[in-house]
Amino acid sequence: MINYLLNHIEAFKVALRRLFYAKAASLVMFLIIGITTCLPMSALLFLENIKQASSQIEYSAEISIFLINKYKDDDLKTFTSFLKEQPIVSKITFEKKEDAWVKLQKKIMIDGDSLIEKNPLPDSFYLSLATLDENEIDYLVKELKEFAIIDDVLLDSTWVNKLNSILSLGELIINFLGILLLCVLAVIIGNTIRLQALSFKDEIEVSKLIGASNAFIRRPFLYTGIFYGIGGAIVAIAIIKLMIFIFNYYAYVIESILGFNISINDLLITHYLAMIMLTIVIGWLASYFSTNRTLSKVKNNS
């Protein structure tokens, strides 16, 4: 067990030495990984901020309920008490058709004459809701429609649905972009490790000749892949932090003119940790497969 650990320490040291041996190439690699990782992370930053902003908007969904022309007072009382029992209903407004008619006439009166002679409006309820949960609202609408005195129910939540759809689409695009860029990362790291492994072909050959197992030969390359992942993640974090700093610096000036907050919030620590883990795993996997490829090449050529 101790020897196994010592073997890992040795591989770790070899990988570090290789990084320092090719300082410029390592730095370029960190930058490439960092910038590539930074792209989906910036999109995530943008989306997270929009999500936060939209959650802070004070908005309540409203339902308009139109009653049939003729109904019994008892039915109205039953319906009103049903509405009062609903926990998601925060405000109930009842408007008699006569009042609504007066309001409508004021709006459509031209030169003191009404264009409509008979009142076409029904008695109606207007409900303010304490939730934006689509399922809860849909369930209430369904229940309302079961009352005999109800003629029609209209739900005013279109723009919330639109925003939610846009955010979902944004998330989908980020996921797609993220996967695409992770593939690019894997190819870049894999290719670099493959080239590095080829440049250490002699070492691989010698190690094979003296009886080293594939795992022994692969180990330093795997550590190199991990280092690339960590280095790239650090560059990506630095770029994102810098981006936020610069944006917020100018946003502070603009806010005083606009009168509202436009500065962006940083990503959560879990986002950063997930990104580091992901780049490490990609570095490791890419190194694993590219070293295996080189090992099989060396075996075939020896």
Binding site: Y4, N7, R18, V206, I210, G211, S302
Partner: protein, 226 residues
């Protein structure tokens, strides 16, 4: 003991590199394998050291048939060989000490034991005072001596040297040969290939190849029938 029995080696698209080779190498022997370029010397050493598997025939080493051994077994067997190459195959990003340390790491030997063995191997080839130097700063002869130190550091029972003096001038070549002779004197089997045809002393076994065929299998004089 190593035994070749009717060994053939064919590379796809090429002529047979080895044809019907049957021979034995006893423990502690020093064997010269000679032949012109392309005669099959390197292939013979590769088959012997299990880098290549024969196309047919058997190669027996310590009761294992190398032709049929699995990769893990071959890795274990290779650890018993010390390999020296004409082009040294040193690691130029590591110093002398670290180059010699590589086989020990493969064998999971670290710490004081490793240090002791590395120093002893470097001392044996006269490079102890250059242990922190990078191989690129050494002369050709010194680089080959470093390769020998790496080959012997795990105390192999067999040393295989493929044209170890091919790139060296006569003075360095003699130095290297003397090092090999000294190993044989302490019981190590040494197998050396060379394309030159030196005056090989009668006390050493001599195998000569031509076009992949065994043309001479000369026993050392002390093993010749009376």
């Amino acid at each position: 003991m190593i035994r070749f029995d009717q060994v053939y080696k064919r590379y796809p698209g090429y002529q047979e590199a080895l044809q019907n080779i049957s021979l034995e190498i006893l423990p502690g022997e020093l064997v010269f394998v000679t032949g012109a370029s392309g005669a099959g010397k390197s292939t013979l050493l590769k088959v012997l050291s299990s880098i290549e598997k024969p196309s047919s025939g058997t190669v027996i080493f310590e009761n294992f048939n190398l032709a049929q051994a699995k990769d893990n077994t071959l890795n274990r067997i290779r650890k018993k060989f010390g390999m020296v190459f004409q082009d040294h195959k040193l690691l130029y990003d590591r110093n002398c000490y670290e180059n010699v340390a590589l086989p020990l790491a493969v064998n999971n030997i670290f710490g004081e034991e490793a240090e002791k063995r590395i120093r002893a191997a470097l001392d044996k080839v006269g490079l102890l005072n250059k242990e922190r130097m990078m191989p690129i700063t050494l002369s050709g002869g010194e680089q080959q001596r470093l390769a020998i130190a790496r080959a012997i550091v795990c105390r192999p029972s067999i040393i295989i040297a493929d044209e170890p003096t091919g790139n060296l001038d006569k003075g360095y070549a003699n130095d290297i040969m003397n090092i090999f002779f000294s190993f044989q004197q302490v019981g190590v089997t040494v197998i050396i290939s060379t394309h030159e045809l030196p005056n090989i002393p009668m006390r050493f076994k001599h195998i000569h190849l031509e076009n992949g065929q065994l043309k001479l299998n000369q026993q050392p004089y002390d093993q010749l029938p009376a």
